[in-house]
């Protein structure tokens, strides 16, 4: 049976109407919230590919490449920024791009997609690990033992105040086991600890993430919080949980590795 899965025009207008109707509900609180109601989807924090509107960003091992995808079936490369180091992850948020590279976090202004403008290179972190952003804060995990952190010995979760993107400020740092991907939604921060499990933090106060749960039974490589569902990918498969801004964290389903 043939089935058209993407009725995106319809979805777009329904979503646009909902956004208008719900007004303030759109607080920009989903991870990788690029353009609510638009045609593009949402990736996890480990993504090297990211879409924002009509722009596709690809973080290659050497550069940040920008493609115009106004014609979705025919990307055209419009910019290439050599960073001179390994680029690992990319997270677009509002008008900026947050890039996890081997030697730190780069913040680009992408108001003009064909001319990404470097605002700052935050090198306090020597890491190749991912970054997610919500409001005025960037959440970064730094994992030891990976190639790009061989001279460091502590794995960390860091919170960085980016209210002034050209002048990021570290406001919190907490030790972790073996952190990989992470996701943020409202007062919840989810951090994958690789094969060690999944950690849930309350970030009502972003400067003081409070560990609420450590689920060692959910190996987590990356997460996407999406419509109050946490989608987890890891070595045992895909797990999904329903969460809220209180204590809820209910198992929904599992697609096992077989």
């Amino acid at each position: 049976m043939k089935k058209a899965i993407f009725r995106f025009r319809f979805d777009f207008w329904v979503l646009a109407a909902l956004v208008v109707l719900l007004g303030g509900c759109d607080a920009g609180f989903t991870s990788a919230d690029m353009s609510p109601g638009a045609q593009t989807g949402t990736g996890g924090s480990m993504a090297r590919f990211a879409l924002a509107g009509n722009t596709l960003y690809i973080a290659t091992k050497q550069s940040l490449d920008v493609y115009d995808v106004s014609q979705a079936d025919s990307p055209v490369k419009i910019a290439k920024t050599d960073l001179g180091v390994g680029v690992e992850t990319i997270f677009p948020y509002r008008n900026n791009l947050y890039i996890g590279a081997n030697d730190g976090m780069y913040i680009f202004d992408n108001a003009q997609p064909d001319k990404p403008r470097l605002l700052t290179k935050y090198t306090h972190i020597m890491s190749c690990d991912p970054v997610v952003v919500q409001g005025n804060y960037a959440y970064v995990t730094l994992r030891t033992g990976v190639a790009c952190r061989q001279f460091n010995s502590v794995s960390l979760l860091e919170v960085i105040d980016i209210s002034s993107p050209s002048n990021p400020r570290l406001i919190h740092s907490t030790p972790m086991d073996s952190p990989y991907g992470l996701g943020v939604d409202g007062t919840r921060l989810f951090v994958g600890e690789g094969s060690k499990g999944l950690k849930l933090f309350d970030i009502s106060n972003p400067a003081q993430p409070k560990l609420m749960k450590f689920r060692s039974d959910i190996p987590t490589y990356d997460v996407i919080p999406y419509r109050s569902t946490l989608i987890v990918t890891g070595e045992k498969g895909i797990f999904q949980y329903r969460y809220d801004d209180k204590d809820r964290f209910d198992f929904l389903s599992k697609i096992p590795v077989e």
Binding site: I5, G41, L51, I58, C148, Q150, I238, S253, I255, V257
Partner: protein, 169 residues
Amino acid sequence: MLVVAACEPRDSETPANGPRFDGTAYQPIYASPAELARIESQPGRALRRPGKIYVKDNYLFVNDLGEGIHIIDNSDPASPRKVSFLRILANYDMAVKGSYLYADNASDLVVLDIRDPLNIKVVKRIEKAIPQSDYPPYANVWFECVDKGKGAVVGWEKVNVSSPTACFR
């Protein structure tokens, strides 16, 4: 990267700066250009090594490391349903706009029309868009040097070897 991938002539002794040799090394898995370009929809199948994930509306996309992408109908997250598997060798990343999926296929960027997930079509291939490493994604390991004449490297296999290989990192 702070790591250096080195290719040195094989010596009777382990190079002083090489990693400890434990009797194993990584061997490249090659694919011919034709094999690499063969991208197709297959029936939904088991997850093997889940990698990155991507959501678009009611659909969840799950990369299976180096093998392709599972398309999952996730309209009910309590009961996700496998729709199809897209065979895309050497694939790790993806993004979706409208009914088009962007994916890496070794060093190529491919655009797939996924309107019908059971019958996807490659609508564009941009060659050499994504630089590839010619070493395995692990540190402190021995590996057989890549011979580009054998095709694209689509994965690495750990094998037992009697002596250290010529390449290490």
